[in-house]
Amino acid sequence: MKAYFTELFTGAWSLIVGLTVTLKALFSPVVTVQYPRQKIDVTPNYRGHIDLIKDPETGTHRCITCGMCMRDCPSDCIYLEGEKQEGVKGKVLTLYTLDYTKCSHCGACVEVCPTQALDYCDDYEVAGFAREDFHYDLLKRVEERE
């Protein structure tokens, strides 16, 4: 009999205590942001897909077409081509595509590159209607960028 009433009262009390917690939350400020209207700053260390860096000195990318990134990528998502051109030492990059649908953000390509030609970009709003939307031409992107 005693247990019956103890349980009744401790139980009821625990329920009331629970109610005070949510009541306090009701009058606390909200912690969410209204996403498309409000945005949180994305950290500079965010790892989006990779991009060729635009070298401020030369005004173009630094890739020497060594192919290390292509070989080291565990997901085989980089494809690049280069050709010999008159008067230029080494090969010149003519095509650099990234199949972002397969990329696993592992960072192998960025770390292996001998000239630090690659870096992560901070695009995080990536959505598309077709797979092909994510086949990026990085060479074109670096040329278009300011």
């Binding site: 329920l15 629970g18 917690v21 965010y46 953000h105 960072g107």
Partner: protein
């Protein structure tokens, strides 16, 4: 609550298909329940809906390239999975890791464990029908994710560990934010206790649901919080301290009853212990490099078998690698905790009410991609 079920009343029995799409299976797990009224006679998990051949993929690529895959197996314990695999390769190739890197691995892994437990906490209560705790838990968890994102660059499937260290050093901002988070979570825990742990409905729902004994756990290979809820003080961080865990002072929470309530409490208390570890690691953080300089570009593992186990949020995670001397592993086997933990369901959940099946499956803290790999 277990009841004796009358076996031969065939006409009352029917099969209920819980999953592959069901709110409480948290992913594509299917459980076939043979029912009699509200009581479950025979629950049978059906696996394989998210099988992605991770182990097979490992046999086609250089050993190092398997690292991102480990994060995809258990998306909630990604850093711990990373750490385990990096440790395996280091062990195989005989590479020393700088002490600072070990400390950073411990800090990030423990933060990862806390966020995994917080998510479980919310999701479990969602299974029990409480909608609000998950929002509060997410609020706290978001702080961990933001902090980790600042260092690792991603929020869930980190690929942070490298063979021979970690890819990026932590900075003062990270340390500051982590300390602030520890403060914050410590301040929030009493709120959780008031809202959830003390609540009579929660206690009534969880107490004496499931009956895990040390013997049962040994038979099925159950590890992690469930084993500790059965009264066995077994935590790899203490039992065979890997990395630098031997340098920290922390407890292994255990309970004796072996029910869902015990598992709940073990996990809940682990949050506090992980906070302690992170705090100590931040205090003791040594200076130095975070990446061993002499790691060969092409990692050739000497011929032989290698094994490495770590304590994941859900139990013991083991990597087993057979090398034939080339840089591509001959075989990688991953022993994931949820797979073994799930296998007790047919035995433990027999004779329960359907609501209790949900409770006890929630107590297992299943991550389905980890089961199927």
């Amino acid at each position: 609550m277990n009841v004796d079920v009358i076996e031969d009343e065939r006409q009352h029995q029917f099969v209920l298909n819980m999953g592959p799409q069901h709110p409480s299976t948290h992913g594509v797990l299917r459980v076939l329940l043979k029912m009699e009224g509200e009581y479950v006679l025979d629950p049978q998990p059906v696996l394989g809906y998210v099988h992605r051949c991770h182990e097979k993929i490992g046999e086609y690529k250089p050993a190092r390239a398997f690292m991102p895959n480990t994060a995809r197996m258990d998306y909630l314990g990604a850093l711990i999975y990373n750490q385990g695999y990096a440790m395996l390769l280091e062990r195989a190739a005989g590479i020393e890791v700088p002490r600072r890197a070990e400390y950073i691995r411990v800090i990030t892994s423990e933060l990862n464990r806390i966020q995994s437990h917080l998510l479980w906490y919310g999701a479990y209560l969602l299974d029990l029908g409480a909608f609000t705790p998950i929002m509060y838990a997410f609020d706290d968890r978001e702080h961990i994710l933001d902090t980790l994102e600042d260092i690792c660059g991603s929020r869930l499937t980190y690929c942070y560990c490298r063979v021979g260290g970690v890819c990026k050093d932590i900075d003062d901002k990270f340390i500051e934010r982590t300390r602030a988070f520890i403060e914050r979570l410590r301040g929030r825990l009493p709120m959780y206790e008031k809202l959830v742990n003390g609540n009579i409905i929660v206690q009534k729902r969880m107490k004496s649901v499931g009956n895990y004994t040390p013997e049962l756990c040994a038979r099925y290979g159950v590890t992690g919080p469930l084993l500790r809820a059965a009264g066995v003080e077994y935590d790899l961080r203490k039992a065979e301290p890997y990395s630098v865990y031997s340098e920290f002072d922390f407890e292994v929470p255990t309970e004796q009853q072996g029910d869902a309530w015990a598992a709940f409490n073990v996990r809940y208390r682990e949050i506090e212990q992980s906070l302690r570890i992170v705090e100590q690691a931040l205090d003791k953080l040594p200076e130095g490099e975070v990446m061993e300089a002499k790691v060969p570009k092409k990692l050739r593992l000497p011929q032989g078998d290698y094994n490495c186990s770590v304590e994941a949020p859900r139990g013991e995670l083991s990597y087993y690698l057979v090398s034939d001397g080339s840089d591509i592993p001959y075989r990688i086997k991953v022993r994931t905790p949820s797979y073994s933990n799930l296998s007790v369901v047919p035995e433990v959940c027999k004779g329960m009410m359907i609501a209790d099946v949900v409770t006890s499956m929630g107590a297992l803290d299943l991550v389905i991609p980890e089961i199927d790999r």
